[in-house]
């Protein structure tokens, strides 16, 4: 009795899919998605890894075809094989119900783990780049405000998707009520937000650049001190909101893939 096996149970097919994944990566690289954040050295390393993946997949497919049982995958192949046996061109047929191989669930989980590790390591690059791009206190104020908006959006999306509820949602809402007035100000209490302080600082700096004297210097120092203090307070508040968001993620999905508190300047998240 000759039985077919599922396509994905074929070791040869699995190995070829691994090779295909590497090949697709190389084709994408060829079509110009190279750039910005990858230096030439890292880019070359990625290309080399893709090449090794493809070559390894093809080699293993050939090895598996040569040394492992290869049951048919389609009824058409079964018919052809039986015809060949009847015609005397084949003497016997191996029919194992399943094949082993490196691309089992455990292997796929390993690949997923490696991918996750790589993705998590690369996940904060934009956030780090933004804080690094800030040349002045008013730039940092803008980055902190924008960062806060992004993670607020993520939290609101989680809430709207129904994955946040109960104490996790309550904790996030509390963290928001603490952080928002610090970041954008609060008209009700007269608390000034980063935008106003950044504008004051920019004006003071422009005045100082125009006329360097003791008065403009004093005004610039005062504006700088106020803005720097407000930025530090806002960073702490944003870090607090991030911690609440991560705790909420833990409670709902048990997944913590992204920790952009790591991207905040040292000492802020503590």
């Amino acid at each position: 009795m000759l039985k077919i096996i599922a396509t994905m149970d074929s070791l040869v097919i699995r190995a070829l899919l691994v090779a295909l994944a590497g090949l697709i990566g190389m084709v994408l690289s060829y079509f110009g998605v190279d750039a910005a954040l990858f230096g030439a050295k890292a880019e070359g390393l990625v290309d080399a890894l893709l090449l090794v993946l493809t070559a390894g997949g093809v080699f293993y497919a050939a090895y598996a075809r040569a040394t492992r049982p290869n049951p048919p995958l389609t009824e058409r192949a079964v018919e052809k094989t039986i015809e060949m046996v009847r015609a005397g061109k084949l003497e016997s047929v191996a029919v194992p119900p399943k094949q082993g191989g490196f691309a089992r669930v455990a292997f796929l989980a390993l690949v997923a783990g490696l991918a996750l590790g790589g993705l998590s390591l690369s996940a904060c690059t934009g956030t780090r780049a933004a804080y690094k791009a800030a040349q002045d206190a008013d730039d940092t104020a803008y980055v902190v405000t924008r960062h806060y908006r992004s993670i607020l959006r993520e939290a609101a999306d989680l809430k709207d998707s129904g994955t946040l509820s109960g104490s996790a949602l309550a904790a996030l809402r509390n963290a928001e009520q603490i952080a928002t007035p610090i970041v954008i100000g609060d008209e009700a209490t007269g608390q000034v937000g980063l935008r106003v302080l950044a504008k004051t600082y920019a004006d003071a700096r422009a005045a100082y650049d125009e006329a360097v004297n003791a008065d403009t210097r004093e005004a610039l120092d005062a504006a700088n001190a106020k803005l720097s203090q407000a930025v530090n307070d806002a960073m702490r508040a944003v870090a607090g909101f991030l911690r609440a968001l991560e705790a909420a993620r833990q409670n709902t999905t048990q997944v913590l893939p992204f920790d952009d508190a790591r991207a905040l300047p040292a000492g802020v998240a503590a």
Partner: protein, 84 residues
């Protein structure tokens, strides 16, 4: 290859893996991988926005319009989070 493109490829790959696992009878593993992909996607969205902020600052200062948009965004998202 652009790092964010790699992230997107990785997330797409994880979603494909999740689908494959689910279709091959490993529903729990598929669901777990899907949650991982969702978490990474959220992180990727934040990171993409921050990269845009980095690009903006590399080109100069944030304008009044940039500030206004961000501050309004904070208000809108905060209201959405608090909304029942």
């Amino acid at each position: 290859m652009n790092l964010q493109t790699l992230q997107e490829l990785g997330i797409t790959g994880l979603r494909g893996l999740s689908l494959g696992l689910s279709l091959s009878g490993n529903a729990m593993a598929g669901a777990f991988i899907d949650k991982v992909a969702n978490g990474l996607q959220a992180g990727s969205d934040v990171d993409r926005d921050m990269q845009a902020a980095a690009d903006l600052l590399a080109a100069g200062k944030a304008s009044d319009a940039d500030w206004a948009e961000v501050v309004q965004g904070v208000k809108d998202e905060a209201a959405r989070l608090q909304d029942d």
